[in-house]
C-alpha cells in the first residue's frame, strides 16, 4: 500500500512538498517554499515527517521536478539546516539553473531585507553537492529495490515527471507540466506505464484554454504595430521560463519580418540562465533542436543586453525587464520613464499580485501615486497577455489517458477546482481520485501482483500439454512453489524434492468394487479385460500373466469374496497422479459388466 501526504502542496498553490511511502520506502517529492510568507510558514514543516528522528534515516531519497522556487526553494534549508544527507535527484538543467535562482533568492532575502537565520551561499553549494543528476528516461537505481525514471514535462527547461518504482508498485509524480508545446519547449510525454498512483498538479483544473497561436499572434501584432509607430514596448518578465519563450518569439518574428528596431534584455541573472538554455538544446522543442546545427536559437541576433542609458534613446525599441510585476527594480524605472507617452506600450505577460503597480495598471488605474506623493499619469497602452505553461483540464485528462494509472491524486491547485476535476476523472476513467489537504495522509491499497520464477523446462513441458497460451484465459499449471529468501520459484516436483533433499512418497488410492459374477476368477478377469478394452480404446489395457489387469499405471485385481463366491471383489489401485483416470475406472466398473456375449 502507499501513503502520500502533502507536507506542502495539498490543496494549495505555493509550497510543493509531498511525501510518499511506497512499499516501505519513503520518498520526498519536491521541496518548495511559499512566496507569500516571510516567516516560518514559507518552508514546509519538516518536523512533521519524522516527528523527532533524523531525516536521513527516514527518507530514501528526495526528487526535485524543476527549478521554480516553489518546488526547490527550501532545499538548502532542508538539507543543510534541518539536516539531510541522502541523495537528491534532479535533471541536469535543473541542477544547473537551480543554484542560480537559490542564490538570487538568498540575496534578496538576506542582503536586501536583512533577515538572519537564513541559508548561506556555502550551504547552497553544499546542498548541490548532494544532488545526483539524471537523464530523461534513464532508470536510476536508488537502492536495490527503489528505482526512479524521469519523463519530459515541458513547463520550464529541465522540468521532469518522475516515476518511482518499488518492485511492481509504482507512482508517477508530474511536478508542473504542459501538454501543449510552446516556442521553446515541447509537450509533456509519458508512456503507458500504468502506475498505481499518478500524482498530478491541477493548477488549471477548471480551465480549457484557447489555442496558443491566437495569443502569440496578438502579442506579435501589438508589438509590431507599436514599433512601427515609433513607440517603445516594455515587457516586464521574471528572469526565467516565460522570458525565454517571449525572446524566442520576438527573435524569430524579427528575423522573419526583417525588422530593425532593437530589442533589449535587462542583464544579470538572465544572461547566466540563457547560457544554460544554449547548452541544453536536447531539452527544447523540435524546431530549436532541428535548427541548432545552423544556429542556436538562444544565440539571439536581435536581442542585446540592456543598459539603463538606453531607456532615453529616441526611436522604437522593445525591452524585457525584471521583475515581472512592476513592483521594483529596473522594470519599474523604465515604466516611469515611458508611461507618459501614448505611443508606448507595456505588455504584462503574467499574473500580478494585488498591491503591485502591475496589478493597478491592469485593473485600469490611470493615475498612480508613487513614493514621495508623486502622481504618475499613465498614458501608455497597457496590454495583458497570458503565457502560462501549465496543463489545462484537457491536458491533465490527456496525461491520465496516456499513463493509465489505477489511482489519481491531485495536488497543487485550489480545492474547489480540484473537486470538479476529481469528479470528471472518476466519471470518465473509472479510477479513484484523491485530493488530500496539507498534512493529510492518503492511503491507497494496491493489489500487487507477485512475480514467480518458473524454470524453463517446466514451462515448456506444461505449455506443451495445453493449448497455446491465450492472453484472455488463465492457465492451469502443475508444479511446486518454493518460497525461500524472499523469492518465489515454481519448479517441477522432482526438482523440488532434490533441492529440499526429501524422499519421494507415493500416494495410492485403492478401491474395491463388488461385482456379481458366478464364474471363476480368471474368467471374470477376462471379462473385465474385454470390457475395458472395448471402452478405453485410447489407453493401453494389458492383461498380465499373474491374473491382474493394468490400464496405463492402474492396477486391477480380482478375488473371490470370502463369504459369497458369487461376488467377485475387484481391487482397483492408482497413484494420485492418475486420479482422474482412476476415479473414472471405478465408476465405470461400478456400473457393472455388460451381459456376457459368449
Amino acid at each position: 500500500s502507499f501513503s502520500g501526504s502533502g507536507a506542502g502542496a495539498g490543496q494549495d498553490v505555493g509550497r510543493s512538498c509531498i511525501l510518499v511511502s511506497i512499499a516501505g520506502k519513503n520518498v520526498m517529492l519536491d521541496c518548495g517554499m511559499h512566496m507569500g510568507y516571510n516567516d516560518d510558514r514559507r518552508f514546509p514543516d519538516f518536523s512533521y515527517i519524522t516527528q523527532n528522528g533524523r531525516l536521513t534515516d527516514f527518507l530514501d531519497c528526495v526528487i526535485i521536478s524543476h527549478f521554480h522556487l516553489d518546488h526547490c526553494g527550501a532545499l538548502p534549508y532542508f538539507s543543510e539546516m534541518v539536516g539531510y544527507d541522502g541523495p537528491i535527484y534532479m535533471t541536469h538543467p535543473t541542477k544547473a539553473i537551480c543554484p542560480i535562482l537559490l542564490e538570487d533568492y538568498r540575496k534578496i532575502t538576506v542582503d536586501k531585507k536583512g533577515e538572519i537565520n537564513f541559508f548561506t551561499s556555502q550551504m547552497i553549494k553544499d546542498c548541490m553537492k548532494k544532488v545526483v543528476a539524471v537523464h530523461l528516461h534513464q532508470t536510476v537505481q536508488v537502492d536495490e529495490e527503489l528505482e526512479i525514471k524521469a519523463y519530459y514535462a515541458g513547463h520550464v527547461l529541465g522540468a521532469a515527471m518522475f516515476q518511482i518504482k518499488v518492485g511492481c508498485e509504482s507512482v508517477v509524480y508530474t511536478g508542473d507540466y504542459n501538454m501543449t508545446p510552446d516556442r521553446h519547449l515541447g509537450a509533456a510525454w509519458i508512456d503507458k506505464c500504468r502506475p498505481d498512483l499518478l500524482i498530478s498538479e491541477s493548477t488549471y483544473a477548471t480551465t480549457i484554454r484557447d489555442s496558443k497561436r491566437c495569443r502569440e499572434r496578438d502579442f506579435l501584432k501589438k508589438v509590431h504595430e507599436t514599433v512601427e509607430r515609433g513607440g517603445k514596448v516594455l515587457i516586464p518578465v521574471f528572469a526565467l521560463g516565460r522570458a525565454q519563450e517571449l525572446c524566442i518569439l520576438l527573435e524569430t518574428f524579427w528575423e522573419r519580418m526583417n525588422l530593425k528596431a532593437p530589442i533589449y534584455f535587462s542583464t544579470g541573472l538572465t544572461e547566466k540562465a540563457n547560457h544554460y538554455y544554449k547548452l541544453f538544446i536536447t531539452w527544447t522543442n523540435q524546431k530549436i533542436r532541428k535548427t541548432f546545427v545552423q544556429r542556436n536559437m538562444f544565440e539571439f541576433k536581435h536581442i542585446k543586453a540592456f543598459d539603463r542609458a538606453f531607456a532615453d534613446n529616441p526611436g522604437p525599441m522593445v525591452v524585457f525587464a525584471t521583475p515581472g510585476m512592476l513592483h521594483a527594480g529596473q522594470s519599474l524605472q523604465i515604466f516611469k520613464k515611458w508611461a507618459g507617452n501614448e505611443k508606448n506600450m507595456v505588455i504584462m505577460p503574467g499574473y500580478c499580485v494585488q498591491g503591485t503597480v502591475g496589478h493597478k495598471i491592469l485593473s485600469g488605474q490611470r493615475k498612480l501615486e508613487m513614493e514621495g506623493r508623486q502622481i504618475l499619469e499613465v498614458k501608455m497602452q497597457v496590454e495583458y497577455m497570458s503565457f502560462s505553461a501549465h496543463a489545462d483540464a484537457k491536458g491533465i485528462m490527456q496525461l491520465i489517458r496516456q499513463a493509465e494509472p489505477r489511482n489519481v491524486l491531485l495536488v497543487h491547485g485550489e480545492a474547489k477546482k480540484m473537486e470538479f476535476l476529481k469528479q470528471k476523472i472518476e466519471q470518465e476513467f473509472h479510477v479513484n481520485c484523491y485530493m488530500p489537504a496539507n498534512g493529510e495522509t492518503t492511503t491507497i491499497f494496491t493489489n500487487p501482483s507477485i512475480p514467480v520464477d518458473i524454470s524453463l523446462g517446466l514451462l515448456k513441458r506444461e505449455t506443451a500439454i495445453g493449448l497455446l497460451p491465450d492472453v484472455k484465459k488463465p492457465q492451469l499449471m502443475h508444479g511446486t512453489l518454493i518460497m525461500k529468501d524472499n523469492s518465489f520459484r515454481l519448479v517441477s516436483p522432482e526438482q523440488a524434492l532434490k533441492e529440499l533433499g526429501l524422499a519421494e512418497h507415493q500416494l495410492r488410492f485403492t478401491c474395491r468394487v463388488h461385482i456379481q459374477d458366478p464364474r471363476k476368477e480368471h474368467e471374470t478377469v477376462l471379462r473385465v479385460y474385454n470390457h475395458l478394452k472395448g471402452v478405453l480404446k485410447d489407453y493401453s489395457v494389458q492383461h498380465l500373466p499373474d491374473g491382474s489387469i493394468t490400464v496405463e499405471s492402474i492396477l486391477i485385481q480380482a478375488t473371490a469374496h470370502s463369504e459369497d463366491q458369487g461376488t467377485k471383489v475387484l481391487l482397483v489401485s492408482w497413484t494420485y497422479q492418475d486420479e482422474e483416470l482412476g476415479s473414472y475406472l471405478t465408476s465405470l466398473l461400478k456400473k457393472g459388466l455388460p451381459p456376457s456375449t459368449s
Partner: protein, 969 residues
C-alpha cells in the same frame, strides 16, 4: 537493411577462413566452367565448416545466375540444405532460394514442392521464417495459379501456431498476400484454408506479440488492397486495438478503421454505455480524431492524414473538430476567434486594452462538460497545435481536403488556417498558405483575417511571399477597406522587397479583375485625383505606381464607368502600359480614344478559330501535294514553315502546335533536299560535298525528332509513330551516306544489321499503328524485309535508297493540345558589367532563378549547363527540392550553381543555360507497349534503341561575367 548488415557481419567473419589459399586458386579454375551450378556444387562439397560454406554462398550470391541454370542451382542448394546441420547456412540457403526464384523468366513452380517439404523438418524458427519468406516470393510470382496459392496459404495456416513471432509474422504476411480474394475459389478447394482467411487473420489480432498483431492488421489491409471486401465484424475488434500498448499496432489499426469506414459508411453502430446509435463513418471519425492526441507522434501523423479523406462524415461531427469548448473557472469562455468575429460584426475593431476583456461570462453546468470522451471535439485544434511539425502539416492537409468538399467547414476552418500562417516552421506556413489558396473558392476573408494574412507579406522568405501572392490572386475580399488594406500592404512589400515586382503586379491584376465594384470607390484616392485641382503627374517608372494602375485597369475592364474618373495622363499611361506590360494590362474600351484593341477584345474566340483554320489549311495544302516536282515541293515547304513560325509568334495559344508542325516539315524538307537525285548521280570526287550535306541533314533530322518527341507535352502515340518513322528515315539516310563513302564491305555488315534490328523493333513497338501508314517508307520496307535480311549490304543500301525516294510523305495528325517546353532564366540577368570575382580553385555560388513551362517531371529532366570560354562544359543536376510548383504546368527552379576555374588574366563571360535531358528508354513509345508483350520481349528487344541519352537546350543562354583571381600567396 537487416539483410545487408547480416551480409557485412558474415563478410568480416569469414576473413579468417580465407587463409586457405590453395583452395582459392583451384576454385578459380573451376569457375571457368560454363555451368554455374557445377561450380557451386563443388564449392559446397569442399566446404569443411559451416563458416566456409557460408562464405561460398555469399560469394555465389553476388553474381547473377542465368535463367537456364536457376533450376539446377536450386536443386544443388536443396541437396545441401538437407545435409546441413548449421542453422545459419540453412538460413542463407533459404534466402538464396528466394532470391533465385525472383530471377526474371524463371518459373518457380518446379521448386515449390521442395520448398514446402523443407518446412516440415525444420526446427530453427529463423530458418522457418526465411523459408516462408521464400514461399512468399514464389507465391507472388505465381499469383495466377490459384491452386498453388491455396496450397501455400494452407502451409501458412499450419505454421500459424508456431511459438516464434517471426514465423507467425511471415505466415500472416503470406496469407495476406496470397489468401483467396474471391469467395467462389475458396469453396472449390476443399481444405483447411478454405476457411475464411479473414477469420484466421482476425484471430491473431489478439496475439501476445505486438509484432504479430501488427502483421495481422497489415495482412488484413493487404487483403483489402487485393480487392477482398472486409467484413464489418472486424470493426469492433479493430476499435479495441486502438488502445493497444504498441504504436505500430495502433498505427495499423487506425488504417484498418479508416478502410472499414470507407467500406461501410452508412452502417449503424451502437454507442457503448448508451442506447444511441450512430453511423459507422461518424463513429470511426470520432475514434480517429481521438488518436490525434495519441502519445506517439507516428500515430498522430497517421490519424491526422486519414481524417482528410473521410468525406462522408456528417457535418456536425466535422465542425466539432474545430471546437474545443473553452472554459475558465467553470465558466464558458469565448475563443479569441469568436471574440474577433464579434468585434468585427459589432463594427468595433479590436480594442484589447482592458485586462480581462476575455473574462468568462456564463456559468457552465459542470455535469455537461465532457473533458475527453467527446471524440471528435477539438481534434484539429490539437493537431494544429502539435509539438511535431509533421503532425501539423498532416493536419493542415487534412483540413484542406475536408474544406474542399464542405464549404461550411471551409468557412469555419479559416480562422485556424490563418493562425497557421504564423507557425514557427516555414514548411507549415507554406503548406497552410497553399491550402488556403486551394479552398479559396469557398471562402470570403473577413477584414481581421485579411489583416493577419497580409501581415505575412513581410516575411523574409521569398517562397512564403510568392505563395501569399498566389493566394491573394484568388481570394475574395468582402469590403473596399479590405482591398485598400491589401494594396497598401502589397506596396509595402514592394518597397521592402523590390524583387517581388512581377509577382505583386500579377497579384494586383487578379485582385482588380475579381473585385471591380470594390475598387471603383477607391479610384480617386488611389490616383490622387482632385475634383478641382490638377495633381502632379506621377512617375511612370515607379513600380508602385504601375502596381496601382494594374489594379485599376483590371478592375476597369468589367466596370465601364471607371474610365470616367481617370485623368489625362492616366490614359497616356494606359497606352504605354498596354504596350509594355501587355500580359498585365487588359484591353479596355476607352471613350473618345482610339480603340486600341477593340477588334480583338469582343471576338477572341472566332479569331482563334481563324488562326486554327489557317494552320490546318496550310497543312492540308502540304499534305495534298504528293508528287509535285521537287523544286515546287521544296518551295512550298519553305513557305509553309515560314508561315507557321510566324503564326506561332502571333498566336501564343497555337505556338506549340505551330512549332511542332513546322519542325516536322523542316525535317521533311531536309530529307527531300538530301535525296535530290541530281546530287547522287555525280561523279565520285564530288561525293564529298554531297556527303557533307546529306550527313548533316541526317544529323539534324535526328536532333529535331528528339526535340519533337521530348520537348512537347501532350504528344500522343499517333505522333510518336510519325516521329519515330522520321527518325528511321534519317537513319536510313545515314546508312546510305556511309555506304557510299566507305570502302570495303566489312563495316557495312554491322551497320546493316543494326538498322534492320531497328526496323524490327519499330514494327514491334507500333504494330497497332502500321495499318495507318500505307505507302510509307516503313510499309514498303517491311514488304521487302525477307529480301533485305538475306541480301548483301550493298544491295540493302540500294533498296533503301529507292524506297526512301519513292515513299510518300506521312500526314502528321495533330493532338488536341500541344505545348512546347520552354524555360526562361530570370536570374542571372546577364546585364551586369561587374564581374563576379572569386579566388581561383575555390568555388563561387551563382544564384539561378528560372521559370519552366510545360515540363513534365522537371526534377528528373532539367539540368543546368555552364559553358566556360575554354570550351569546358559542366552539367549540374539541381536538387529535387529546388523545383517549386506554383501552378499546373508551371515550375520554378531556384537553385545555386557552383562555379570554379583556374585563374584568368581578365574577366570573361560564361554561358548558363538550361537543358532538357531525355532518355529514349523512357520514350512514350515503349510505354505504349502492352504489358504482356513487354514481359516476353524484354530480353529479346535489341539494345540499340534502348538507352540513347541526350540533352536538348531549351532556354536562351545567359552570359555571366566572371573573374577567377589567382590566389594570393
Amino acid at each position: 537493411m537487416a539483410a545487408h548488415l547480416k551480409k557485412r557481419v558474415y563478410e568480416e567473419f569469414t576473413k579468417v577462413v580465407q587463409q586457405q589459399h590453395e583452395d582459392l586458386s583451384t576454385k578459380k579454375l573451376r569457375l571457368t566452367k560454363p555451368s554455374k551450378s557445377a561450380a557451386l556444387h563443388v564449392d559446397l562439397c569442399k566446404a569443411t565448416s559451416p563458416a566456409d560454406a557460408l562464405q561460398y554462398l555469399l560469394q555465389f550470391a553476388r553474381k547473377p545466375v542465368e535463367v537456364e541454370s536457376v533450376e539446377g542451382v536450386v536443386r544443388i542448394l536443396l541437396e545441401h540444405y538437407y545435409k546441413e546441420n548449421d542453422a545459419s547456412v540453412r538460413l542463407k540457403i533459404a534466402s538464396l532460394l528466394g532470391l533465385l526464384s525472383k530471377t526474371a523468366g524463371f518459373s518457380p513452380d518446379c521448386i515449390m514442392d521442395d520448398a514446402i517439404n523443407t518446412l516440415q523438418n525444420e526446427k530453427s524458427h529463423q530458418v522457418l521464417a526465411q523459408l516462408l519468406d521464400t514461399l512468399l516470393v514464389i507465391g507472388t510470382k505465381l499469383t495466377e495459379n490459384s491452386s498453388v496459392r491455396m496450397r501455400l496459404v494452407e502451409v501458412a495456416c499450419k505454421h500459424l501456431t508456431d511459438s516464434s513471432h517471426g514465423v507467425r509474422n511471415k505466415c500472416l504476411q503470406l496469407i495476406g498476400c496470397l489468401g483467396p480474394v474471391e469467395k467462389g475459389v475458396a469453396k472449390e478447394v476443399e481444405s483447411q484454408a478454405a476457411k475464411d482467411v479473414q477469420k484466421i487473420i482476425g484471430d491473431h489480432f489478439n496475439d501476445q506479440d505486438p509484432r504479430v498483431r501488427t502483421a495481422a492488421i497489415k495482412a488484413m489491409l493487404q487483403l483489402h488492397e487485393r480487392g477482398l471486401k472486409l467484413q464489418q465484424a472486424i470493426y469492433s475488434q479493430a476499435c479495441k486495438l486502438l488502445a493497444d500498448d504498441y504504436e505500430q499496432v495502433r498505427s495499423a489499426a487506425v488504417q484498418l478503421i479508416w478502410v472499414l469506414s470507407q467500406l461501410y459508411p452508412e452502417s449503424i453502430v451502437p454507442i457503448p454505455s448508451s442506447n444511441e446509435e450512430i453511423r459507422l463513418v461518424d463513429d470511426a471519425f470520432g475514434k480517429i480524431c481521438h488518436m490525434v492526441s495519441d502519445g506517439s507522434w507516428v500515430v498522430r501523423v497517421q490519424a491526422a492524414k486519414l481524417l482528410g479523406s473521410m468525406q462522408q462524415v456528417s457535418s456536425h461531427f466535422l465542425e466539432q473538430t474545430l471546437d474545443k469548448k473553452l472554459m475558465s473557472d467553470l465558466r464558458r469562455k469565448r475563443t479569441a476567434h469568436e471574440r474577433a468575429k464579434e468585434l468585427y460584426s459589432s463594427g468595433e475593431f479590436s480594442s484589447g486594452r482592458k485586462w480581462g476583456d476575455d473574462a468568462p461570462k456564463e456559468e457552465i453546468d459542470t455535469g455537461a462538460v465532457n473533458l475527453i470522451e467527446s471524440g471528435a471535439c477539438g481534434a484539429f485544434v490539437h493537431g494544429l497545435e502539435d509539438e511535431m511539425y509533421e503532425v501539423r502539416i498532416a493536419a493542415v492537409e487534412a483540413l484542406c481536403m475536408l474544406a474542399q468538399s464542405s464549404p461550411s467547414f471551409a468557412e469555419k476552418c479559416l480562422d485556424f488556417l490563418v493562425d497557421m500562417f504564423n507557425d514557427e516552421i516555414e514548411e507549415v506556413r507554406l503548406q497552410s498558405i497553399h491550402t488556403m489558396r486551394k479552398i479559396s473558392n469557398n471562402i470570403t476573408l473577413r477584414e481581421d483575417q485579411l489583416d493577419t494574412v497580409l501581415a505575412v507579406l513581410e516575411d523574409s522568405s521569398r517562397d512564403i511571399r510568392e505563395a501569399l501572392h498566389e493566394l491573394l490572386c484568388c481570394t475574395n475580399v468582402s469590403t473596399k477597406e479590405g482591398i485598400h488594406l491589401a494594396l497598401v500592404e502589397l506596396l509595402k512589400n514592394l518597397t521592402k522587397y523590390p524583387t517581388d515586382r512581377e509577382s505583386i503586379w500579377k497579384c494586383l491584376k487578379f485582385l482588380g479583375s475579381r473585385h471591380p465594384t470594390l475598387v471603383l470607390p477607391l479610384v480617386p484616392e488611389l490616383l490622387s485625383t482632385h475634383p478641382f485641382f490638377d495633381t502632379p503627374e506621377p512617375d511612370m517608372d515607379d513600380p508602385a505606381y504601375i502596381a496601382v494602375l494594374v489594379l485599376i485597369f483590371n478592375a476597369a475592364k468589367s466596370c465601364p464607368t471607371m474610365p470616367a474618373l481617370f485623368s489625362d495622363h492616366t490614359f497616356r499611361h494606359y497606352a504605354y502600359l498596354r504596350d509594355s506590360l501587355s500580359h498585365l494590362v487588359p484591353p479596355l474600351r476607352l471613350p473618345g480614344r482610339k480603340l486600341v484593341s477593340s477588334p480583338v477584345s469582343p471576338s477572341i474566340m472566332p479569331h482563334e478559330d481563324a488562326s486554327q483554320q489557317f494552320l490546318h489549311q496550310s497543312l492540308e495544302r502540304v499534305y495534298n501535294l504528293q508528287h509535285l516536282d521537287p523544286q515546287g515541293v521544296q518551295e512550298l515547304l519553305e513557305f509553309t514553315i515560314r508561315d507557321l513560325q510566324r503564326l506561332g509568334e502571333l498566336q501564343s495559344e497555337l505556338a506549340g502546335m505551330a512549332d511542332f508542325t513546322a519542325t516536322y516539315l523542316q525535317c521533311q524538307l531536309l530529307l527531300i533536299k538530301a535525296l535530290q537525285e541530281k546530287l547522287w548521280n555525280v561523279a565520285a570526287p564530288l561525293y564529298l560535298k554531297q556527303n557533307a550535306l546529306a550527313s548533316a541533314a541526317a544529323k539534324q533530322i535526328l536532333e529535331e525528332t528528339y526535340k519533337m518527341e521530348f520537348m512537347y507535352s501532350g504528344v500522343e502515340s499517333r505522333q510518336v509513330v510519325i516521329i519515330h518513322h522520321m527518325r528511321l528515315q534519317a537513319k536510313a539516310l545515314q546508312l546510305i551516306v556511309t555506304a557510299r563513302t566507305t570502302r570495303g564491305v566489312e563495316p557495312l555488315f554491322g551497320m546493316c544489321e543494326k538498322f534492320l534490328q531497328e526496323v524490327d523493333s519499330f514494327q514491334r513497338c507500333f504494330i497497332s499503328e502500321l495499318p495507318h501508314m500505307q505507302g510509307s517508307f516503313v510499309d514498303k520496307l517491311l514488304d521487302l524485309m525477307p529480301r533485305l535480311v538475306t541480301s548483301k549490304p550493298s544491295e540493302v543500301v540500294k533498296i533503301l535508297q529507292t524506297t526512301l525516294r519513292q515513299s510518300t510523305f506521312l500526314h502528321l495528325p495533330l493532338p488536341e493540345e500541344l505545348h512546347k517546353a520552354t524555360a526562361n532564366i530570370i536570374e542571372p540577368t546577364g546585364e551586369s558589367d561587374n564581374p563576379l570575382r572569386f579566388t581561383s580553385g575555390l568555388v563561387v555560388a551563382l544564384d539561378v532563378d528560372a521559370t519552366l513551362e510545360h515540363v513534365q517531371d522537371p526534377q528528373g529532366t532539367v539540368k543546368v549547363q555552364v559553358l566556360y570560354p575554354d570550351g569546358q562544359a559542366q552539367i549540374i543536376h539541381p536538387k529535387a527540392a529546388d523545383f517549386r510548383n506554383p501552378g499546373p504546368g508551371r515550375h520554378r527552379l531556384i537553385t545555386q550553381v557552383y562555379l570554379s576555374h583556374t585563374a584568368w588574366t581578365e574577366p570573361c563571360q560564361i554561358e548558363v543555360r538550361l537543358l532538357l535531358a531525355y532518355n529514349s528508354n523512357r520514350s512514350k513509345a515503349s510505354a505504349k507497349i502492352p504489358k504482356s508483350t513487354w514481359s516476353e520481349s524484354l530480353e529479346a528487344l535489341p539494345q540499340s534503341e534502348n538507352g540513347i541519352e541526350g540533352t536538348i537546350p531549351f532556354s536562351k543562354p545567359v552570359k555571366v561575367y566572371i573573374m577567377p583571381k589567382p590566389a594570393r600567396r
